[in-house]
Amino acid sequence: METNQAQQHTSSFRDPAGFVFSYDGKIYRQVNRDGADDYDHFMSSGLYQKLVSNGWLIPHKEIKDTKKFGAHKKRYKVIQPEMLSFISYPYEWTFHQLRDAALLTLKVQKLALKHGMILKDSSAYNVQFIGRKPVFIDTLSFWRYTQGDPWEGYKQFCEHFLAPLVLCAYDSPEILPTLRVFLDGIPLDLASRMLPGKARLHPGILSHIYMHASSQKRYDKLDESKKVENKPRKVSPMALNGLMASLENNIKKLKLSKRDTQWGEYYTFTNYSDQSFEYKKKLVKDLLNQVKPKVVWDLGANDGTFSNIAAELGAYTIAFDVDSKAVEQGYNHKDKYDDLVLPLVQDLSNPSPSLGWAHAERHSLEERGPADAVMALALIHHLAITGHSPFSQIAGFFARISRFLIIEFVPKGDSKVDLLLSAFSRNKFEGYTEENFEAAFSKYFKLVDKKPVKGTKRVLYLYKTK
């Protein structure tokens, strides 16, 4: 952008209709002259109002005085969308989150068609979650629809949503983190090779994945002159509606197979009494109350029991866990904190990196911080023993992602730690002591409070980043 202060967002550079930029700590979207007609129709047709009143689209306001952003020759308008507390990515979502995002995209598309518009793309990155609710964020994804127009985002929809969902249903949701590699979705040709043969017996999968992939292959082989000869290809409104209905029906029918994971029932197998657990909840609440954070990251949140405590105090809380089943459980458990708790899959031994063009399209976990407060409850032993990460490394990383840290030290002698240690016959983890823990963390943090968890050997610490 041709200004000194306004910074174009590093992921927003493809769409000729406009781009996202930040200015003075706030997020804006510029509508370019190339997107003026579509934007005006989007606003005047009633589509915007309807999408916002349904809670499907992030609301925005138009900025009258755009001089402060500096001159820009392509500028038509500047809008300011409601700010999100945290940006998440499809490779951090569970099966049901991706499924809900897909269904939202189809609902948005159907409503757009009723207002004479169509989605020009179908990127999963156009959807974000506010707590447990998916919301469409790309205001410039709509353009005018003329009868006969094809849906140019069909391929992208199948690759961003349908293929990963089908792979989850036929195999495992563990496929979803591979979306880190396949940032533009799983190629249909690859998906059709990865799926088991029985998937062909499903008419929806046979058509939208297998036959779709074959059609792509067949026409990719044609030389350009033949493609031009074949153009233009019309898709009737009935066919378009049929396509939407078919995708919707097929996605709604997809289900995960039942499976057990290590942590899915963690809180039903805790090693302390109900009394100690209740006491720990009270301690966490007291420590959070000392900080009064607006945004909390609960690392190793499992199903989000402690995230709800932060939400109860009004904090927007991201409930991270490595186990997709636990996160799924947290996502599917709808309650009064639906707007405040966002469950996400995150492997702390390999946290989300910076990805995409120039390493800057998708931000690393660290770049999306620091959070006002990070909670790391019953986590340190997994990182230090199972993950073999030294205390100093853990403390250093936590200091980069938090302003305050509430961390639980679980010492040797605790049955959970002893269970982990039993897997290592030679390594006794001599350095895994409370003294070493405190020494490592004191390099990066100032101790604010320290409380033992009654009825256990565990200790809770409240640290402030130095």
Binding site: R14, D15, P16, A17, D34, G35, D37, K120, D121, W143, R144, T146, P150, W151, E152, G153, Y154, K155, Q156, C158, S207, H208, M211, H212, S215, Q216, K217, R218, Y219, D220, L222, K227, N230, R233, K234, V235, S236, M238, A239, L240, N241, G242, L243, A245, S246
Partner: protein, 57 residues
């Protein structure tokens, strides 16, 4: 009216061709289901009317 779109996404020609075909098949299916469900309601309506008229008698 001719609308100029400034696209940035490659829709893949094979995908466009395919959706024009599969869309018709799916569209006919959706239309068919609507017709059958409409007929079903009508048939149900006939029976419920005759039942109500019976009770009136």
């Amino acid at each position: 009216m001719h609308i100029v779109h400034f696209a940035y996404l490659d829709p893949s020609y094979g995908s466009v061709v395919f959706q024009s075909v599969i869309g018709i098949v799916a569209g006919v299916g959706v239309f068919g289901r609507k017709v059958f469900s409409g007929l079903g309601h009508k048939v149900k309506g006939i029976f419920s009317r005759s039942e109500s008229s019976k009770s009136e008698e």
